[in-house]
């Protein structure tokens, strides 16, 4: 089965052709990073306008690179959730038009499911990673999401959240800290580079929510801590900047890796899989691979092109829905919420059985 995938949930317009075994025949990504850079983040209306301009050319290029005509493709898969609704709508409507015009089946795909199965993609020159299969504990870390899942299969009803961030996504914390430090957007790769030249022990930052027992995360506190340091001491320069980046990155990746393996222990799994843009972070990869080796757990990390937003993972997740006989109709809607069950309550305040568990959090600023 050959499926054309379309992805427009945030700031990348993507189209790809993928076959049932995960072979990527083509994968085209048109990034809007430059468009949004001046605003310091993604501006939804600008993103939607740009997607509309790019979807047609990107889809044509994906077909051309795969050496296929549209009638040689078996179905169309499109990201329909979660994401910026206006941006998603452009992809969803384009996909519906293509599917109806060409008489092909259409499936909507949850973007998070795409990330969690992206490790199954095989690009040119790549071979299937050893030990790949279900089930596994998936760590999805990106600019929009940070969560741990028990992944029993490639479809949404086989994926169960174990814990997620209560506030900022890890990638969001990277971007915001970079902004405070005067680094350009997107900040993740820049912090990664500076951190590699710094000493993480010279600045003391407490790893957020690192205690055992909870698989939930919180990254807004450490971001504020960095901002507080900058507010009192100014933006550090030279080695001091590298040291602060190293300390911040070490705290964030340390917590991510630690909780990933706590989840593995709790769920009695023998493999972990990463997904999402932050899985490109070199320190996170190194920590996960190291812990995996120590504990005898297979660690599977998608290539950079598969980890960041792309349409190939959407096509692949779509194939898995189609193989179960699932299709969507012309009334497929775009929504901002994931279809995956969510356990983690967002926002501050106490959790658990305390009588205050559901009280409105007090503002203390």
């Amino acid at each position: 089965m050959l499926v054309l995938g379309i992805e427009t949930s945030c700031d990348e317009t993507g189209a790809a052709v993928v076959s049932s075994d995960g072979t990527v025949l083509s994968d085209v990504v048109e990034s809007q990073v430059a468009l949004h850079a001046e605003w310091g983040g993604v501006v939804p209306e600008l993103a939607s306008r740009d997607h509309l301009r790019n979807t047609g050319p990107v889809v044509r290029e994906a077909l051309a690179k795969a050496g296929l005509r549209l009638d040689q493709v078996d179905a169309i898969a499109v990201t329909c959730r979660p994401g910026l609704v206006g941006a998603l709508l452009v992809g969803v409507q384009t996909a519906k038009g293509i599917a109806w015009g060409a008489g092909k089946p259409l499936v909507g795909v949850d973007h998070l499911v795409g990330h969690l199965v992206s490790v199954f993609l095989r690009r040119e020159g790549e071979t299937t990673q050893e030990g790949l299969g279900f089930p596994y504990v998936g760590l999805l870390v990106s600019g929009g999401h940070t969560a741990l899942y028990r992944v029993e299969g490639p479809c949404a009803d086989q994926i169960h959240e174990l814990g997620a961030t209560r506030d900022d996504a890890a990638g969001e914390a990277f971007d915001k800290v970079a902004k405070v430090l005067g680094l350009a957007y997107p900040g993740g790769p820049r912090i990664d580079r500076l951190a590699s030249e710094g000493d993480p022990l010279r600045v003391k930052l407490v790893p957020p929510m690192a205690r055992r027992g909870s698989l939930e995360f919180s990254f807004s506190g450490i971001k504020t801590e960095v901002a507080r340091r900058v507010a009192s001491g100014g933006v550090p320069q030279g080695d001091a900047l590298c040291d602060l980046c190293a300390s911040f990155q070490s705290a964030v990746t340390g917590v991510l890796a630690k909780k990933l393996f706590e989840a593995v222990e709790r769920e009695r799994m023998d493999r972990v899989v990463l997904g999402g843009g932050v899985s490109a972070n070199r320190e996170l990869r190194r920590r996960v691979e190291e812990l995996g080796r120590q504990k005898g757990i297979a660690t599977l990390v998608p290539s950079l092109a598969s980890a960041t937003d792309n349409a190939a993972m959407i096509a692949y997740a779509g194939i898995k829905r189609l193989e179960r006989g699932e299709v969507d109709g012309g009334d497929l809607v775009a929504t901002s919420e994931t279809v995956l069950e969510q356990l983690t309550r967002k926002g501050r305040g106490r959790r658990g059985s305390s009588p205050h568990a559901f009280s409105v959090p007090r503002r203390t600023e």
Binding site: W39, G40, V43, E45, L46, S48, R49, L52, R53, T55, G56, V59, R60, L70, G86, L89, V90, G91, V92, Q93, T94, A95, K96, G97, I98, A99, W100, G101, A102, G103, V180, K223, T224, A227, R228, A231, G329, G330, D331, L332, V333, A334, E365
Partner: protein, 219 residues
């Protein structure tokens, strides 16, 4: 030539099919902001009724606004997807022009709601466009049109304008098909237009963007 026309630039979802300038079928519904889920089922219904298939269409005529940014994009994206699959031509039509189609009056003021107390407006006088598509507040509208001779105003938002305040002699024509842009009017305009390989919406007003104030993370 077979033409399929659609407009989703306002709360009205409207689709129509033409065979050699003859209107064959039309469906218009007030779908509010649910164009995404409504448009394709409406098209499928119309094609089922006529027994046509998407490949029978030579040209897709699409309302490109001004109007709801999201609504316009839904229509444009859908039509571009269909055209990509079938090889049909694309023609974009201004929704203010669609609204005034069929009227022979000397001066026609076309109006569509732009929300936030503003309107999209264009004015045609003796067949020529004298006010190109613009976005004005209601006060600005009556102030700028002061001195215009007797005119006809189309678009249901025209009923909410205080025309008397500035002694403007305006006759309202806000009944269908001049209430909101309808595909039956739009399709008629699309026969003699040049086709384009893609469609660019006529947004008219810039997106409402505000630069974030330097946010104080720490006090």
């Amino acid at each position: 030539m077979r033409i399929a026309a659609l407009d989703t630039s306002t709360l009205l979802g409207s689709v129509a099919l033409f065979d050699h300038e003859v209107l064959v079928a039309e469906d218009s519904r007030r779908v509010s902001n649910a164009h995404g889920e409504a448009l394709l089922p409406m098209l499928q219904g119309l094609f089922a009724r006529t027994g046509w298939s998407p490949r029978d269409i030579d040209r897709w005529a699409v309302g490109i606004g001004p109007g709801s940014f999201t609504g316009i994009r839904i229509g444009v994206a859908t039509a571009q997807g269909i055209a990509l699959a079938t090889g049909a031509e694309l023609v974009g039509v201004n929704s203010l022009e669609t609204l005034a189609e069929g009227l022979e009056d000397t001066t026609v003021i076309s109006l569509l709601s732009a929300l936030r107390g503003e309107v999209f407006v264009s004015v045609r006088h003796e067949g020529a466009v004298v006010v190109p598509p613009s976005c004005w507040s209601l006060d600005e509208l009556t102030a700028r049109l002061e001195g215009f001779g007797p005119a006809v105003a189309v678009g249901e938002i025209a009923r909410s304008v205080d025309w008397g305040g500035r002694h403007l002699h305006v006759e309202l024509r806000t009944e269908p098909p001049h209430d909101l842009p309808r595909a039956s009017n739009l399709g008629r305009l699309a026969f003699n237009r040049l086709a384009s390989p893609w469609l660019e919406p006529l947004y008219v007003s810039a997106p409402h963007l505000t630069r974030p104030a330097a946010k104080v993370l720490v006090r």
